[in-house]
């Protein structure tokens, strides 16, 4: 079990209001990702749920039980920190055993759970090492191991992969998703990396300045962003946003079109421009098209084999059914 409900939760640090009244429901077994730009209050929200910060007002219900004044250890949640927060003077085994020792679980049961967690996380060979003798990825796994053995109602992750290099991050991303599939426990995962959000989440919560901008599955957010902020935040490369006469033609204040929804041609199309920088990824190429008269620069995603060079003239046609329209308040027009 691990249903988490936030009701009218607010948080202030002195005079600064970091979280305005906020409602959110996280269902049991869901993999929820909080995304948002730096400083938007993702960590704060997670720490409120964990109990490491007190709510200023509002309710936090875990499995129906009001928890906002209960100390962290009693909430039945486990947290994985960005800095891993392993205990440097204890071996991996002792690190993983620590929450069990504190809970007064007997030695045999401790040993059973440690062995099991170590097997799941490929840590069996490292149990007698200290954290200082492990690589970043291994440390991260120990931190996850320490969370798993408690068999918590929900896992909380605060940017757990941001200290790892790109290749390892992809690997750990898969491992965490795999772990979620196996344990089927509620997980809340904070990141500012929208690729992590898109690939791992059942449900994404987009935050800005403590406000929830939109909640939905990755594809809902990708297909029907509720406002300009979400439109610009979800998707990589970013959606092209065009305002002015071109938007007016579609009866909107601003229109948005994703780079992958624009077809290009050397000779004809709705829009034209000059190719600026092109980024070759092998499978795809991103062209940054300038001098279109629409926006500063339009990004277009094309097949890796398409050969436009810097300075070439390029013609582009947006796919009509993929144009997102927004009104002057930045809200989506259906």
């Amino acid at each position: 079990m691990g249903q988490i409900i936030l009701k009218q939760v607010t948080k202030r640090f002195g005079d600064v209001s970091v979280i305005p009244p906020l409602d959110l429901t996280i269902e049991d077994g869901e993999f929820t990702v909080f995304v948002g730009p730096s400083g938007c209050g993702k960590s704060t929200l997670l720490r409120l749920i964990a109990g490491l910060e007190d709510v200023t007002s509002g309710e936090i219900r875990i499995d129906g039980k009001e928890c906002s004044t209960i100390p962290p250890a009693k909430r039945g949640l486990a947290m994985v920190f960005q800095s891993y927060a392993l205990y440097p003077h204890m071996t991996v085994r002792k690190n993983i055993a620590f929450p069990l020792r504190m809970a007064g679980i007997d030695k045999a049961e401790q040993e059973r759970r440690i062995t099991q967690a170590a097997a799941v996380l490929n840590l069996t060979d490292y149990l007698d090492r200290r954290p200082g003798q492990l690589s970043g990825g291994q440390r991260q796994r120990v931190a996850i191991g320490r969370a798993i053995v408690r068999e918590p109602a929900a896992f909380l992750f605060d940017e757990p992969l941001s200290n790892l290099d790109a290749a390892l991050r992809v690997g750990m991303r898969l491992e965490i998703s795999e772990l979620h599939n196996r344990l089927k426990t509620t997980m809340i995962y904070v990141t500012h990396d929208q690729v992590e959000a898109m690939t791992m989440a059942d449900k994404i919560v987009v935050l800005r300045a403590g406000h929830i901008e939109q909640v939905g599955t990755p594809l809902e957010l990708y297909r029907t962003p509720r406002n300009l902020f979400v439109a610009g935040f979800i998707g990589s490369p970013k959606m092209n946003l065009i305002s002015g006469p071109e938007a007016a033609k579609h009866g909107a204040h601003t229109i948005g079109i994703r780079p992958e929804h624009i077809t290009i041609s050397p000779s004809e199309g709705a829009w034209s421009g000059i190719v600026g920088v092109s980024e070759h990824l092998g499978s795809d190429t991103f062209f940054h098209v300038q001098k279109t008269g629409l926006a500063e620069s339009i990004t277009v995603r094309a097949d890796g084999e398409v050969g436009f060079k810097h300075g070439d003239e390029i013609h582009m046609t947006p796919r009509a059914d993929m144009i997102h329209r927004f009104d002057e308040n930045g809200l989506r027009i259906e």
């Binding site: 250890a73 920190f81 927060a85 205990y87 003077h89 620590f98």
Partner: protein, 292 residues
């Protein structure tokens, strides 16, 4: 220092410093050793110019057989041990306290460090006359206020009194080192332990104390070196009476009061041996912390 050439150049350039340091240490040490094997009583007309009479181990035997030798070793160890225990325990507690966000933190920190800037002689005099004086001291007033008979601290509780004075002087040092160590503790670790269900005391013993291990080791090692040779505090307060004659003080008495340089030197050599025994012992039990 990778190549042969740079290595020998480095050796050449370091040589003057090494030779100076060696001379600095070796000359007094050799002279002490030499005197300790001779009869050297300046009041009886012995002097280096006239040549000193070689007496072999006589001074050593006399020093160790004197009735004040073992009590002095005992007093030394008691004072050093007592001060270490008090400064480390109070130092840890004070460091934790000072680490909390309290009002007027800056001023409080300076006040805590202040005793360290007071010269030992001065602080001992202040303690003797202002605090511990059986008639006019603060403690005497305090005792009388509660209707108790004032204690004459420096004669009736002489060793604890000396320990108190010296601890007061060294507490700031311990606190300062432990405070910087506490400040370097990763807050996430404490929060992780909190999430793991460790109550305040468990967090202290499982997370904070191990983190401080290395700093405590350093405090103990450095303080021991200085505490083995405390002198002014004893000279000013009890003058070595009432069981406060440490080894250092005994040597002083042998050399200055009895004008027996040979005997004093032999005591000095014993002091070196004692210091090394203590050092090895300390390294054994706490030095493990430093390898990590």
């Amino acid at each position: 220092m990778a190549t042969q050439a740079s290595r020998s150049a480095a050796r050449l350039m370091m040589a003057p410093a090494v030779i100076l340091l060696l001379g600095w240490m070796l000359v007094p040490l050799t002279m002490t050793l030499w005197f300790s094997f001779t009869r050297y009583l300046p009041m009886r007309g012995d002097s280096i110019e006239r040549g000193l009479q070689w007496v072999g181990f006589e001074n050593y035997v006399r020093f160790i057989n004197s009735s004040s030798f073992w009590p002095s070793v005992q007093a030394t160890l008691m004072i050093v041990g007592g001060v270490l225990v008090i400064t480390v325990i109070l130092g840890v507690l004070l460091a934790i306290l000072l680490d909390q966000p309290i009002w007027g933190q800056g001023v409080v920190r300076i006040l805590v460090i202040a005793p360290f800037f007071v010269m030992p002689t001065v602080s001992a005099l202040v303690w003797k006359n202002m605090m511990m004086d059986p008639v006019n001291g603060m403690f005497a007033h305090l005792w009388r206020a509660f209707g108790a008979t004032p204690v004459s601290w420096l004669s009736d509780a002489s060793v604890p009194s000396i320990i108190l004075i010296v601890s007061w002087q060294w507490l700031p040092f311990a606190t300062l080192i432990l405070l910087t160590a506490i400040q370097s503790l990763d807050r996430d670790q404490l929060e992780a332990a909190e999430m793991d269900g460790a109550p305040v005391l468990s967090r202290f013993f499982h997370i904070v104390l191990p983190h401080l291990g290395r700093a405590i080791t350093i405090v103990i090692l450095i303080q021991t070196i200085f505490l083995l040779s405390i002198f002014a505090e004893i000279f000013v307060t009890t003058g070595g009476a009432f069981g406060t004659r440490t080894l250092t003080y005994l040597i002083f008495q042998r050399v200055v009061d009895s004008q027996n340089i040979g005997l004093g030197s032999a005591g000095g050599v014993y002091a070196i041996i004692l210091a090394n025994i203590v050092a090895i012992f300390l390294m054994r039990i706490v030095g493990k912390n430093l390898d990590r």
